[in-house]
Every structure is written in C-alpha cells, then in structure tokens.
Subunit: 199 residues, 2 copies
DNA sequence: ATGCTCAAACGAAACGGCGCGTTTTCAAGC
DNA sequence: GCTTGAAAACGCGCCGTTTCGTTTGAGCAT
C-alpha cells in the first residue's frame, strides 16, 4: 500500500508537504491493520511512511490525534432509507458491522475507544465526534418521526444511544459476525418499545 | 492503602506468600486509581508493593491477568429484587453506575476493556467473564419471567445484552453521572419492547 | 521581473528516559 | 536441597525531543 513511498517525495519548502501527510496517514492505517493497536507506535508509523518522527509530532500532537484523523479519512457507512424504520435500523446495523469487518474502520475505531481510556485528548475527540455526528441512527429515527411512523414524543437521542451502544459492544467484544437474527431481535425489542404507547 | 508494605513481610519458604500477593493486588488497584490506566505498569505496581518484578511475573503471566484478578477481588454490585422488573432494572443500573463511580471497579473494568483491544488474553478473559456471569441483568429478567410478569418467549440474553451495552457505553464515555431520568427512559423503552406482544 | 535572504518543513540520526520481560544472584524458610 | 522472594542488572523498543544538513517557498529589494 504505502510501503514504497515515492522516492521523489522530499521537502517542498516552507509549507506542509501533502505527500508526506498522505503517506503518514496511509502508513498509520496499514500499521493498525497489520500489527493491531498493540503494534501501533509513532516509530512504526514513521518507519512505514519513510518519514521522520518530528514530522509526525509536528502535525499530530498525540497518538490520539493521528488515530482520529485516520478514522475521519475512512469511507462512511451507507445509511439505508427504505421508508420503514425497522428495516432501516436493521439494515444500518448490518451495513455497519460489515463495514467494520471488511475495512480498516473497525480496527481504527476500536483503537480510538481504547486510547480514549488512557488519553484525555482521545476521550474529548471521541465525545465531540459522537455528539457532533449525532449518529446516523438519530437521523433514521427522526425521519421515521417526520413521516408519522412513530410518535413525535419519542426521544431519538435515547433510542440512538441504545442502538449505538449495541454496536459498540459488538465491536469491542469482537462479535461483528453476529447473525442477522440477533440483530433483528435486538432492534425488534427496541422498535416495539418505541411504537408502543407510553404506559 | 498498600503504600507501606509490612517490612516484616519476607519470604515464607517454599510456597506462595499470600502477604505478597495481597500487597501486589492492592498496589495494582491503588496505582490504577491514582495514575489511571495510562500509568499502570508492572514496574509501578512492583514499586508500590515493594515487591520484585519477577514475583509478579511468576504469578501473573500478563498485565491482563493481573487486571482481571484485581477486578474479581472487587465487591459485587447489589442486585435489587423488588418484584417489579422495571424497578429492578433501573435500580440495578443506578447501583451499578454508583458502584463504578465510587469504587475503583469502574477504573479497573475500563482498563480491562481497553487492554482487551490489544491483548488476546484480556479479550478471552473478558469474554469468559461476561459469558460466565451471564450478567446480573439476565437473572433479573429470568425472575420476571418466572413470576409471569413478562412473556416466557422473551429472549433474556438479547435484552440483557442491550442493558449491558448501555452500561458499557456510559462507562467508556465517562457518563456515569447520567441523571436518573435518562436511565429510566432507556429502560422504559426496552421494557415496553419486552412487554408488548410480538407484532 | 530578477535575485537575494530568511523561514519553514523535510528526513535522518541521536539523545536521555522509561517500561518491558528476562536472567542472575543471594537470602530465607520448609 | 528445594522452592520462594527481593533486588539488581540485562538488552530491547518506544517515547518525545533536539540537532543537523538540505530543500524550497515567501518576502523584499533592487
């Protein structure tokens, strides 16, 4: 992938070298996938990118910052919009699990969560990110509300939190190959809770 | 806490020294609480326990093993049994969050989850543990089933997984001071999903 | 425009420091 | 004599930083 950095990539003068930045980000992703979070060190990334450590430290103040940018470069998961809430939720989770399994996104996100447990920067970044995107799930639920499929009183933040928690836990415990039935069942419980009139 | 190890604690001959083991476990807990997971190293624990590193490595093959034993020494959280499922679930989550906040259990468990992302041993131990205890939540739900409060067809594993996920996510994102209303709301959604007749 | 100087970023190498996991040494008690 | 424990030292790797020489754009004067 990025293992043979362009030998012509050299300093381009008194401004940031985008080639270096790219090489570093790609190397970071590659190291993460190949060696896992345990083998993810600034040294290893620098070696892999054929870059100097100071170059990395200049642009990314912490391991967490680098991880975060790698994560943000990832392709986004597809969010279905079928017109039925339950179908959307199950489809989204299936897409998400497949995405996490089949691309490096899963490794990167797992690492970010782990890093957040010991690095304040990572924790803040993760919180920002979660809050900022308001999660795809929230949008799915809001759409269902807008078309009157579920009561307007439903607190989409709470529901989205439940779904997101489910996804996180499966990611962190390496159960992304969960069969569709389990996903469907979990979503179904939440779904009925949403749809039922408040007691 | 364990900072002044008994100066009289010395080798007791050809068997394991329980005083040393205790001192090491207590030191590990103290280091984790005071310096966090980032500062948790075998060296630091050995220093704190006034023990030699080889002594630690002899009895705990990895950092994960030590973490796990520290976690298992913790006091258990109280599981309510009021005769009403919703009350039990909310009460349990409240107890659990308070327990995680006010004792070192939260720090230890967070660290264990983080460690599991880079250490295979920790991952296996965590999976064993989660599976083995079948979670307190599962017992709560099974009780409700036994007294006929909810349909016998309810899959308690799935529901317990939802509740546990909710708890994990709040632990990992440092939101253990969530107000009672949020907990209640989340549980309420799940509850109604359980109670409602399958569509 | 042209040419000069300065500042910035680059890769590479080296630094001291620390934690790793291991090995060795020595003393103590069964 | 056996096992255990404490202590010290080992080589290794990564940390975050500093220094070096080189490359190049930007700013300014001519």
């Amino acid at each position: 992938m990025a293992e043979d950095a362009d030998p012509a990539r050299r300093s381009i003068g008194a401004r940031r070298n985008p080639d270096s930045a790219d090489a570093i980000l790609e190397a970071a992703e590659a190291v993460l996938v190949e060696a896992g979070y345990a083998g993810f060190s600034i040294e290893a990334v620098a070696r892999r990118a054929r870059a100097g450590k100071p170059t990395i430290y200049r642009w990314w103040p912490s391991k967490a910052a680098l991880l975060l940018e790698v994560y943000q470069r990832q392709k986004r998961v597809e969010v279905p919009d079928t017109g039925r809430l339950e179908e959307d939720l199950v489809g989204f989770l299936k897409n998400l699990f497949a995405h996490w399994r089949e691309t490096s996104s899963g490794s990167v996100f797992r690492s970010l969560i782990a890093e957040a447990q010991s690095d304040e920067t990572a924790a803040a970044a993760l919180a920002d990110y979660s809050l900022g995107r308001r999660s795809h799930t929230g949008q799915i639920i809001e759409r269902a509300k807008a078309r009157g499929e579920i009561p307007a009183g439903v607190d989409s933040a709470v529901v989205a939190d439940l779904i997101a928690s489910f996804a996180w836990r499966h990611l962190l415990t390496n159960r992304l190959d969960e069969n569709e039935a389990t996903i469907g069942k979990a979503v179904n419980y939440v779904m009925r809770g949403i749809a039922a009139p408040a007691p």
